[in-house]
């Protein structure tokens, strides 16, 4: 549990972050979204005290972060950034081992942990561990950056535009992978992005920031259906809103008895995926199968479109 109270940062009397208060549940993903200059990165960097707050407090599990030494605090908080910031003179293994080494873990434990993380991030340990960062692709560098942030089993993970340098295809895969890893490890993540789609895809809760203030702090569906201000509304984007909303809804509740033509879709997909498939294949309904591949009914275009119009 992370409690942020009245967090403020001023530079030369000008507030970059103003009086932000927020509670972050353990094991959830909180996404801070905002345009550049909204203060979102400064806010993130105050959590691990890369920026010292002008006022306000951050408490992790009831302990005020100001009572710890800054470098000891940072060793307890994973940190992943846009340009990965891998140390170019160290191998991948040594990079991932950064924080465990700082904490003085025994050698064998570090080696085992590095191997475990590379496997978790779908990188072949024997092939990738001895390489230097410049020998990796952009997507691999980003994954090593995440592995390094996770290495010492931190209390929480701070991520500043972690996928910003990736092309759209690799980016989507990286987001899926992060989501899967987060669900598996139950990590607490605070992630900053300027991309509302990314925020909706990854966040359990989204904080929309503008001019240093949090405009709205709510689950993605609320941000879409009940934007608290004009700023939030403009970030959500009127023309994309229905599709973003559909992307949050699972197929399962709309499944009705019956059959339909063509290849089936799994219950794990979102309504947005189902709509895309209907448009592209010109079908009125799709057969639905469960995780084991057993047929469980169909979803129709009519049901889908009315589900995409949220109650208001």
């Amino acid at each position: 549990m992370i409690r942020i109270e009245g967090l403020t940062k001023e530079y030369a009397g000008k507030a970059v972050v103003r009086d932000v208060t927020m509670a972050i549940e353990s094991g959830t993903v909180t996404v801070i979204v905002g345009t550049s200059g909204s203060g979102k990165s400064t806010f993130l960097r105050m959590v691990n005290r890369l920026v010292e707050p002008t006022a306000g407090t951050v408490e992790i599990d009831g302990v005020d972060t100001r009572r710890m030494k800054a470098h000891e605090l940072r060793r307890r908080i994973g940190y992943a950034i846009q340009d990965h910031g891998l140390f170019p003179h160290w191998t991948v293994a040594r990079n991932i081992a950064t924080v465990p080494r700082l904490l003085g873990w025994p050698r064998a434990r570090i080696a085992a942990r590095v191997r475990e993380l590379l496997e978790l991030l779908q990188l072949d340990p024997d092939e990738i561990a001895p390489r230097y960062p410049h020998q990796l692709s952009g997507g691999q560098q980003q994954r090593v950056g995440v592995a390094r942030a996770l290495a010492a089993r931190p209390d929480m993970l701070l991520m500043d535009e972690p996928f910003g340098a990736l092309d759209p295809v690799i980016r989507a895969k990286a987001q899926d992978d992060l989501k899967a890893i987060q669900e598996r490890l139950g990590s607490t993540i605070l992630l900053v992005t300027h991309d509302m789609s990314e925020a909706i895809k990854l966040g359990d809760r989204i904080a929309v920031m503008s001019e240093g203030r949090v405009e709205q702090f709510a689950p993605p569906a609320d941000i879409l259906t009940r934007p608290a201000s004009a700023v939030v509304e403009s970030l959500v984007g009127e023309e994309d809103r229905p599709f973003r909303y559909l992307s949050l809804l699972p197929i399962a509740p709309l499944v009705e008895p019956g059959t339909a033509e063509g290849p089936p879709i799994g219950t794990g997909h979102s309504l947005r995926d189902a709509l895309a498939e209907m448009i592209w294949s010109g079908r009125q309904a799709l057969p639905v199968v469960d995780d084991e591949g057993a047929a469980c009914g169909r979803v129709t275009r009519g049901a889908l479109l009315s589900a995409g119009r949220p109650p208001r």
């Binding site: 940190y79 950034i81 910031g85 891998l86």
Partner: protein, 244 residues
């Protein structure tokens, strides 16, 4: 292929210099045409080997402290607490560079007397600037994302310096050392005007007695040493940079 040629040339040059230092008389026929009638072709008032060793020792004795102080100063002024001293440090090392070594010798002799000391002081002052500027460029040139990651992962100031900044700056620092070393090697020859033992002695003797053979062997030896050292340090720099 070019690497093989370079290695062969390197080996040949080192072998040639060693041969000349160990058995200089064998080269007398080559240099005789440049000696005046009846004059010696090979410098004979002191052992060339001893002069070369002394020359190198003076250079090393001046450059080692110059490197230590320049790198130390660069580390200091690249920290937040030392940033104020940057203009002052720049001014000091720049004066060292702009002050002509001959003038340093002239000023140092009345204070420390004749011998190796005036030369040491001149070379030391002359060697500061290239190392300082390169060390500063290397230490402040760490990519922002890397510097941010080092802080963000919880390294302390000294850990960042020793584990990240200095290793990343090392190739650039070595480049500065290389420049200082070569400048010092050639500048050390003028030290012989104030009685420092070195290869300048051979050149000056040649100039005084109108013996072109002496001037040639002193000059060529100094030049060959500069090439060997410059190349050798370049190899070291390449090794340290290869992983970056």
């Amino acid at each position: 292929m070019s690497a093989v040629v370079a290695a062969a040339l390197r080996f040949a040059l080192v072998a040639l210099v060693l041969a000349f230092l160990l058995v200089p008389d064998a080269f007398a026929p080559l240099l005789a045409p440049f000696a005046p009638p009846g004059g010696a072709a090979i410098y004979d008032r002191a052992s060339l080997l001893a002069l070369t060793v002394s020359h190198l020792l003076i250079v090393v004795a001046a450059i080692v402290p110059a490197v230590a102080i320049s790198v130390g100063l660069a580390i200091l002024v690249s920290r937040p607490i030392g940033a104020e001293f940057l203009p002052l440090s720049r001014a000091i090392v720049n004066i060292g560079q702009t002050f002509p070594p001959v003038a340093v010798l002239a000023l140092a002799v009345p204070v420390v007397g004749f011998g190796a000391w005036p030369t040491l002081i001149a070379l030391f002052l002359y060697g500061l600037l290239p190392v300082f500027e390169n060390a500063l460029a290397g230490l402040t040139g760490v990519p922002p994302a890397v510097a941010e990651a080092a802080r963000g992962s919880g390294m302390t100031g000294p850990q960042r310096l020793l584990q990240v900044e200095l290793p990343l700056a090392l190739p650039v620092i070595l480049e500065g050392v290389r420049i200082s070393l070569v400048i010092a090697l050639s500048t050390a020859t003028i030290g012989s005007t104030v009685a420092a033992k070195g290869l300048g002695e051979v050149i000056i003797a040649g100039l005084n007695s109108n013996n072109l053979a002496f001037v040639l062997q002193g000059g060529l030896l100094t030049g060959a040493l500069a090439v060997i050292l410059y190349d050798g340090l370049g190899q070291v720099a390449r090794l340290t940079a290869r992983r970056g």
